[in-house]
Structures are given as C-alpha cells and as structure tokens.
C-alpha cells in the first residue's frame, strides 16, 4: 500500500510539475516568470518581453502558450515556428514599437522557454 501511495504521490507531483522548468509567479494579469535561473542572455531577453509585451497584453497569455503548447486565442500549436510568426506579427504591428533586435531577443526567449517547459 505504501508503494501505491508513493507511486500516486509521484504521479500527482509529476502532473503538477509538468512545467517544472518554468517558475511562474502570481496569477492572471499579474502572472510573471521568475527569471532567477535563466542564463544571463535570457534574463536580458526576459526584461524586453516583460516591458514590451505587456503594453498590449498580459504575460499570462504568453506563459499559458508556452506551458500548454497552444496559443490561447487561436487554439493553434505554439511551437518554434509559431514563436517566429508571432515575433514577425509583433514587429509589423504598427503599435508594438518593437525593434527587430527586440523581436529577435523575444523569439529566442520564447524558444528557450519552450525548451524549458518540455523538460
């Protein structure tokens, strides 16, 4: 019975920790990532995303997409091809005010987050 308990506990923990690579702070509109374990370059990229993206939408939208692999609005897969497409979309959005280097950094971060979420 103890074995069963331990097994269930492990399964339960693995279910909750499916995105253990990403530390998420807060909920809803206040949802953020904890970048303390990010490599230095990704920390810098995260600062760009944290400042730029939230001008038009919450970080929750991005984090949910990374965590689930599904873009929450379109319902389409959110993978490495999608991160590039979203980056281009934001670059071309007249009101995004994002430069090409900023978009490139954001796409790199999203790809890094996807890798972390898959671990």
């Amino acid at each position: 019975m103890k074995k069963l308990l331990i097994t269930l506990l492990l399964v339960s923990l693995s279910a909750t920790a499916a995105h253990a690579g990403l530390k998420v702070i807060g909920k809803g509109d206040n949802m953020r990532l904890d970048p303390s374990n990010f490599p230095p370059q990704m920390k810098a990229n995260y600062e760009i995303v944290r400042v730029r993206c939230v001008k038009c939408h919450t970080l929750e939208r991005t984090i949910v997409a990374v965590q689930t692999g599904v873009a929450p609005i379109s319902g389409q897969p959110f993978d490495r091809n999608a991160t590039k497409a979203y980056g281009v979309k934001m670059l071309r959005k007249p009101d995004s005010n994002m430069s090409k280097p900023e978009v490139k950094a954001s796409v790199e971060l999203l790809n890094y987050l996807l890798s972390e979420a898959e671990r």
């Binding site: 019975m1 069963l4 281009v88 670059l91 009101d95």
Partner: protein
C-alpha cells in the same frame, strides 16, 4: 488492517487529484466569433474600430473563422476539444454572437437652412451578429435597430439640409444578412448568399476610421436624391446577391457575383480581383522576415485591387416594375499601402449610365468618375489615435464636386471612439462646410 484503511483514505484523494489533473484541458481554445468569442481584444482585428487591420481583413476573408497556421489544418476532433459536445455537434456557437454599436452625433453647420447650426438630434443603435458554425458556414448580420438623422448616410456629409434638425423617422431595417458556405467541397471556394455589399472595393463601407463614405471607389452616385426621377445608385449599397470568392495562392483574392434587383428580370454582375504584396497574406499568415537583416518589405505591404460592375435599374411603376431602364457600368482600381504607422488608401472609379434620370423620352447618357486619396497616421500602443486627411473628387450628373476632410479619431478604450471631422465640400451648388463630432460605443 487499520493501517491499510488509513492508507486507503490517503490514496483515494491522491488518485482523484491525479486523475483530475490529467483530465483538465491543457489550455483555452478559440471559440467562434469575434472578440467576445475569441477572448481577444478589438486591436487583434482593428486599428480603431471599425477600420480593419491586416489580420482583421484575413479574418473577414476567412469567413469569420480565426485564421490558422500555415499548412497545419486543425482536425475536426481538435476543434471539438475543449468545447461543449452538444453545442459543437449542433453547430452552435457557445456564446450568442451578438453585439451592438450605438452612436451619438453632433453636427455644426454654419449654413443650416433653418439657422440651427448645432444639431444634436442624430443617433443610432445597430445590432451586429456574426460567426461561424463549426467552421463550415459563416454568417453576418447588421440590423439597424434605430436611426435618426442621416449623418452617416452616403448623402449626409455633402448635404447640409439633411444634417439639420430634420431627422427622418426611425426605420429599422436589415442592412446586411448573409451566409457563407466556406471552402465548398474542400476547395478554396466560398459561396456567399444574402443581402450584402458586393465585394468590389478593397474596403467594406464600414472599414474606415470615419464613417463618411468615400466617393471613390464605390460610394459615388450618378443621380441625386434631390433630382426628381433619378436614383442615387452606389456600388457599396447592400444588394441581394450570390457571390463566389476564393483566396488563391494566399495572396490573390477573387470574387464574382450576381445581384438580383427588384422589379426587373435582368441580373447585375460584378467581379473583383486583389493582389497583396508583402505583409500578412490574405489567410493571416505572417511574411517570412529575416530577423538578422533589414528590408523595406519588413514593414511594407501593398494591396492592389480592381473591379467591375454592370447592371441596370429603373423607375418603379405602381406595380413595382422597373421601367425607363438605365443600363450602367462601373470600373475601378485601388491601392492600399501600409508602412509602419502610415496608411495610404487610393482609389479611382469611372462609369457610364445611359439613362440616369430614367427619362421616358430623351435618355441622356453620362460618363462619371470619382477618385480619392486618404492618408492616415496612427499613434499609441495599442493604437488609440488616428489622424487622417482625405481628398476626393467626383464628376457626375450634377457636375464636379471636390471634398476635403481632415479628421481625428480617438479611442480612449478600444470599444469607445470619439471622432471629429471637418468636411469642406466644393460642389456645383456652392461651398458647404460641416463639422461632425461622433461618439460611438460598441458592446
């Protein structure tokens, strides 16, 4: 035994917790129809409502289905996931796809015939519904619940009298109501049937920052509503039509249709072609952009369009049969250029009417033309302020008319818009100056 019991007591909640976590949906999925249905903001599809951005145009062309990812069609089973099965099987949207737009207008007309320079009497309430049934069929409805005054009509801005304190009676009507059979038989072809604006111009009549319709390409009239016996026909008026359209190669859009006009057996026919260079394609796919180097096409998109319309109309007799027929045609070309925050729209159209006044004795053919240039600049993130200037020219039965419209539109919230426009009209009847302020709220 008691140890086993206590273990079981612990095991059951853990098992339930585990199953619950494994059975929860992994994320939100798009649901049918527009902002409320997709849980996304107005700026996904609009600059300032109701003007569409590139993605909004793709959404429109896609029959009100959220444009997908290139080359990866979502399987029906995936579409069903996360939705209420009964509603999905019935083809019903999970939310009633209905919205309203209310407008309050204030006009200042120094030349109002009754001396009442400031007119607060115009307002309207419009119901809109739209969406798709299981991505197979789309639909759209615009119903004018209430309108008073005619400031947003085609003739209002050039007609001081109609903007004075003489609001017509409330006349509820269906402005548009059509259904779309999307991707018929698995092809890119869509069938659209119902009451609709024929697809001619690159922009729907409502696809403007300000609602004063542009003469060119489609709103110009050959007749005048003030001329006895003539009809102010315009191409962008809703018609009872059957249309076939398709996006080909992601960047070419073709449309053609027939219009059933009351009181006559002859049908009108029309066709449209548009090609998009650069930018988001007609299916909503982002362009391939090299993030390592710069190109002018990173931000530039150019859409070119052309159209033709041929038909006839007439004056109804007491049995509702058209007589003293007027055979006419229109042809036009347009260009839409977007570069970062700058948006330029250019259009021109010409036509011929062989009996525009429905004369029974001496038909007098007339050639007409109209062209317009409109430049916009967007401010804010997301866009909440647009300044624009439009110049337009029309030559028709009444002579030459030039119109200059500087305007500004501000959206403190994405569903609330305040616009101010000054319309200077140099017409054969004289100079007209009209200042129009409008508050529009959509919910």
């Amino acid at each position: 035994m008691s140890s086993r019991k206590s273990s079981l007591v612990l095991a059951l909640p853990l098992l339930a917790l585990t199953l619950l976590q494994l059975s929860l949906p992994k994320g939100a999925h798009a649901i049918p129809a527009f902002s409320r249905q997709f849980k996304t903001e107005c700026s996904t599809c609009h600059t300032i409502y109701p003007e569409l951005n590139e993605f909004g145009d793709a959404f429109l062309k896609n029959g009100y289905v959220y444009p997908g990812k290139p080359g990866e069609a979502v399987q029906p089973a995936d579409k069903k996931e996360g939705k209420i099965e009964g509603l999905w099987l019935s083809g019903l949207p999970e939310l009633l796809p209905v919205s309203f737009t209310g407008t309050l207008d204030v006009a200042y007309n120094n030349d109002a015939f009754d001396g009442n320079k400031v007119d607060l009497s115009t307002r309207s309430l419009r119901l809109q519904a739209g969406g798709a049934f299981r991505d197979v069929a789309g639909f759209f409805l615009t119903y004018n619940l209430y309108s008073q005054g005619t400031q947003t009509s085609a003739t209002a801005s050039s007609s001081p009298a109609s903007n004075a304190n003489t609001p017509p009676s409330n006349s509820p009507d269906i402005y548009e109501m059509y259904a779309i059979w999307r991707h018929a038989f698995g092809t890119p072809i869509n069938f659209r049937i119902g009451r609709m604006e024929p697809k001619l111009s690159l922009w729907k009549k409502s696809n403007r920052v300000i609602l004063t319709p542009s003469y060119a390409s489609t709103a110009y009239t050959v007749g005048s509503s003030f001329s006895q016996g003539s009809t102010p026909f315009s191409l962008d008026a809703p018609e009872d039509a059957l249309e076939v359209n398709a996006v080909l190669g992601n960047r070419v859009f073709l449309a053609g249709g027939v219009v059933d006009r009351n009181g006559q057996k002859n049908k009108d026919g029309y066709g449209h072609i548009s090609v998009k260079l650069g930018g988001t394609d007609f299916l909503g796919h982002e362009p391939e952009i090299d993030l390592e180097s710069d190109s002018v096409w990173d931000y530039l998109s150019l859409t070119l369009g052309g159209f033709g319309y041929a038909g006839s109309n007439g004056k109804f007799n007491d049995r509702g049969v058209a007589q003293f027929k007027n055979e006419f045609y229109r042809a036009g070309a347009e260009a839409d250029l977007l570069y970062k925050r700058f948006h330029l729209k250019g259009s021109g159209a010409f036509g011929r009417d062989d009996n525009p006044t429905f004369s029974s004795t001496a038909p007098t053919p007339i050639d007409s033309k109209a062209y317009a240039v409109e430049g916009e600049y967007m401010f804010g993130a997301p866009v909440n302020l647009i300044t624009l200037f439009r110049y337009e020219y029309q030559k028709d039965l009444n002579g030459r008319t030039r119109r200059y419209i500087p305007a500004v539109s501000y959206a403190p919230l994405q569903n609330t818009k305040v616009s101010l426009e000054y319309i200077f009209t140099d017409a054969p009847s004289g100079i007209q100056r009209l200042t129009l302020a409008s508050l529009a709220i959509s919910f």
